[in-house]
């Protein structure tokens, strides 16, 4: 993709790349759900299924030095950011080869080499951290962008408002990405926010902000790219509201009493992967053989990651207190 005149041009190869990236996350998480029922993955598991276009679209806009903060629903972001699938899967298994040595599990994937700063399971907990990293970038005269993902539920926390204000007040290089999937656990946006357009809240703090179709990966990528250019220009922070939907429960425990199955089915029919696949097929750009090749490649990588995680060791109990302070044993 290139971005002359701030316009994003996409060719077919690029669209196929986006398709594959989203499919890779989808299949990875489907496998995780299966592994969860086999009790290989434990604790909480929050699937991103349905929302893949947001992480994939936004990550396309970033360079290697840009930093990413995400929530407990972050496997997709980790994969889209380029963390190795082996490390992510091993983390889900709690193995020492995992991205956080198995200490964090599914909710706390970190890889500082990839500038991937977690994996935060306190709702809105990462926003001030992202503001701080952006402050550090600004103080050190770095051009890098910090991106912070969070759900619309986080908008009700004080940290959201404090962070947006600080970011705008100090003109920090940060992109806030609100993944508006309509529900915070079982609480619908309509019963939790007086102003339901999240981007308007950001505008009230003076940020550049807009809402996009979070089911359309191209739209997400274009908007994120434009915002990143503006941020790198020194034009201050931005907020992108991506309207999306989670197809699965909040976590693996959710009985989903709070929504109708028709609603889920309707959203599924306009899901990000099926939408792009249909477009490619309708335009004769993706034939069954090529689709199968992509599916097979993705499946191979996932199987290998499971194999890697299964055969990895767990941390020794004698190292229990590793990493509490800098001087701990490594």
């Amino acid at each position: 993709m290139n971005t002359d005149n701030n316009k994003v041009h996409m060719d077919i190869a690029h669209l196929k790349l986006l398709f594959k990236k989203m499919l890779r996350i989808r299949r990875f998480e489907e496998k995780c759900a299966e592994l969860y029922t086999q009790e290989k993955i434990r604790g909480f598991l929050h699937l991103y299924i349905g929302e893949e276009a947001v992480a994939v679209g936004v990550m396309q806009a970033l360079s290697t030095n840009d930093a990413v903060f995400a929530t407990y629903r972050e496997h997709g972001h980790a994969l889209a950011r380029g963390l190795s699938m082996n490390k992510v899967m091993a983390e889900m298994f709690g193995k020492v080869t995992g991205s956080s040595r198995g200490r964090g599990g599914s909710m706390h994937i970190f890889d500082v080499e990839k500038r991937f700063y977690g994996g935060n399971a306190i709702v809105a907990g990462a926003l001030p951290l992202a503001v701080g990293l952006a402050l550090a970038n600004k103080m050190q005269k770095k051009q890098d962008v910090v991106v912070c993902f969070f759900g619309e539920g986080a908008v009700a926390e004080g940290e959201f408002h404090e962070s947006l204000n600080l970011a705008q007040l100090w003109q920090l290089p940060i992109l806030f990405v609100c993944e508006n999937n309509g529900y915070a656990m079982g609480t619908a946006l309509a019963i939790s926010e007086s102003e339901q357009h999240i981007f308007r809240k950001a505008q009230s703090y003076g940020l550049k902000a807009q809402a996009v179709d979070g089911m359309n990966v191209v739209e997400v990528e274009s908007a994120a790219t434009q915002y990143c250019i503006s941020i790198k220009n020194g034009d201050g922070p931005c907020l992108l509201e991506c309207n999306t939907y989670r197809f699965r429960g909040h976590s693996m425990f959710d009985t989903q009493l709070y929504r109708e199955s028709e609603e889920i089915e309707e959203w599924k029919s306009k899901g990000p992967i099926i939408k792009l696949r249909r477009w490619l097929e309708a335009n004769g750009k993706l034939d069954p053989a090529e689709l199968k090749t992509i599916e097979d490649q993705v499946e191979d990588e996932i199987n290998q990651s499971v194999e890697f995680a299964q055969s990895s060791e767990v941390e020794n109990v004698s190292d229990l207190c590793f990493g509490v302070y800098a001087e701990s044993k490594n």
């Binding site: 434990r42 604790g43 909480f44 709690g94 193995k95 198995g102 200490r103 964090g104 599990g105 909710m107 706390h108 935060n120 399971a121 306190i122 709702v123 809105a124 907990g125 539920g153 986080a154 009700a156 926390e157 004080g158 915070a184 656990m185 079982g186 609480t187 619908a188 019963i191 939790s192 926010e193 959710d254 009985t255 009493l257 709070y258 767990v314 941390e315 109990v317 229990l320 207190c321 509490v324």
Partner: protein
């Protein structure tokens, strides 16, 4: 289990609905208590009976809705505020410590806050370092609030009503590993006052003092100690603030040895406070130093084997008790 047995979760729900039926001022609010049915399913079905006006789903605004609970209590209501877990209650710590705990005193006793805050606590479900901690002692440190820990189904059933009847703010901690426990419920008159510690098993050789999620582990340890010929007394604190020192001292004066089992971190723990109290007040009755088993000084890790290693376990309690009695620890 007999036919009358109910789960800890059901006991809490029964207590909430009973309170709401008998007093119109009582209402429940918190994240996902209504449509979702509560993050640990405690309030499932309650919104059907009482409606969304009395079972209020709040946005994710812990500081806001806990503070609003304090204000509603000032205004004559009797709120039960549910915070999902103690880790998230830290977002409301300011309201609890700077307002709920202080208003009575600061106002020269003009204002009381008859508020109940419920929250889950503790490890055991592999939820890692932002969902598993036991911070009961942080609250027990603060004058002006009372801290209750129902560790049996019976207490889950009856403590809430006592907390609601109290004129001051009361926090109830529900250990996550207890929700599925079930037991038969005694008659209300058989439930001791909420301020009282209770001897769950009597014994003569050592006092094992504990609360919450560690009670069942401690009882198990006591059983094992029995098989080694050691008669351990197990005391369930039930109320962490104010502490029922009378019951503790009585036990220690009988057994002369004490071991506290506490899922909080060792440094600055409630166990430390109890050991200090006993050292100060029962020194001449002691045959061994007051001792404790606590969590290791590490954020709770995700993998099961490390989570177990980080938190108190039965074998450690048995071993520590044997040592205090100068008994050889079996291999």
């Amino acid at each position: 289990m007999n036919d009358q047995s109910i789960t800890y979760r059901e006991a809490l729900k029964t207590a909430i609905s009973e309170a709401m039926r008998s007093d119109e001022r009582v209402f429940l609010m918190g994240e996902d208590v209504g449509n979702y049915g509560g993050c640990y399913a405690v309030s499932k079905g309650l919104s059907d009976e009482f409606g969304a006006d009395r079972v209020i789903d709040t946005p994710l605004s812990e500081s806001g809705f806990v503070g609003a609970g304090i204000g509603a209590a000032m205004g004559g209501m009797r709120p039960i505020v549910e915070v999902m877990t103690v880790n998230f209650s830290l977002l409301a710590l300011d309201q609890i410590v700077n307002n709920a705990a202080t208003l009575r005193h600061m106002s020269g006793n003009q204002i009381g806050i008859p508020l109940v805050i419920r929250m889950a606590t503790g490890a055991g479900k592999q939820l890692a370092a932002q969902h598993s901690h036991s911070l009961e002692n942080w609250y027990a440190h603060v004058p002006g609030i009372k801290v209750l820990v129902p560790s049996t189904v019976a207490d889950a059933r009856y403590m809430l009503a006592m907390a609601l009847a109290d004129p001051d703010p009361v926090i109830l901690f529900e250990h996550v590993m207890l929700y599925n426990e079930s037991a038969a419920i005694p008659a209300p008159k058989d439930c001791p006052d909420m301020h009282q510690a209770v001897v769950r098993k009597s014994g003569n050789d050592i006092s094992l003092i504990t609360y919450g999620g560690s009670l069942s582990k401690t009882l198990e340890a006591a059983k094992e100690l029995d098989s080694h010929g050691i008669s351990a007394e197990v005391i369930d604190l039930r109320c962490l603030r104010p502490l029922d020192t009378h019951t503790l001292y009585q036990s220690v004066e009988k057994t002369h040895r004490v071991l506290v089992v506490d899922e909080g971190w060792r440094t600055g723990s409630l166990a430390a406070e109890i050991c200090a109290l006993i050292a100060e007040d029962c020194f001449w009755s002691l045959d061994a130093p007051p001792s404790r088993i606590c969590s290791k000084e590490v954020p709770i890790p995700y993998p099961q084997h490390l989570e177990r290693a980080a938190t108190p376990q039965v074998a450690q309690v048995v071993e520590a008790a044997m040592k205090l009695l100068n008994r050889e620890v079996p291999a």
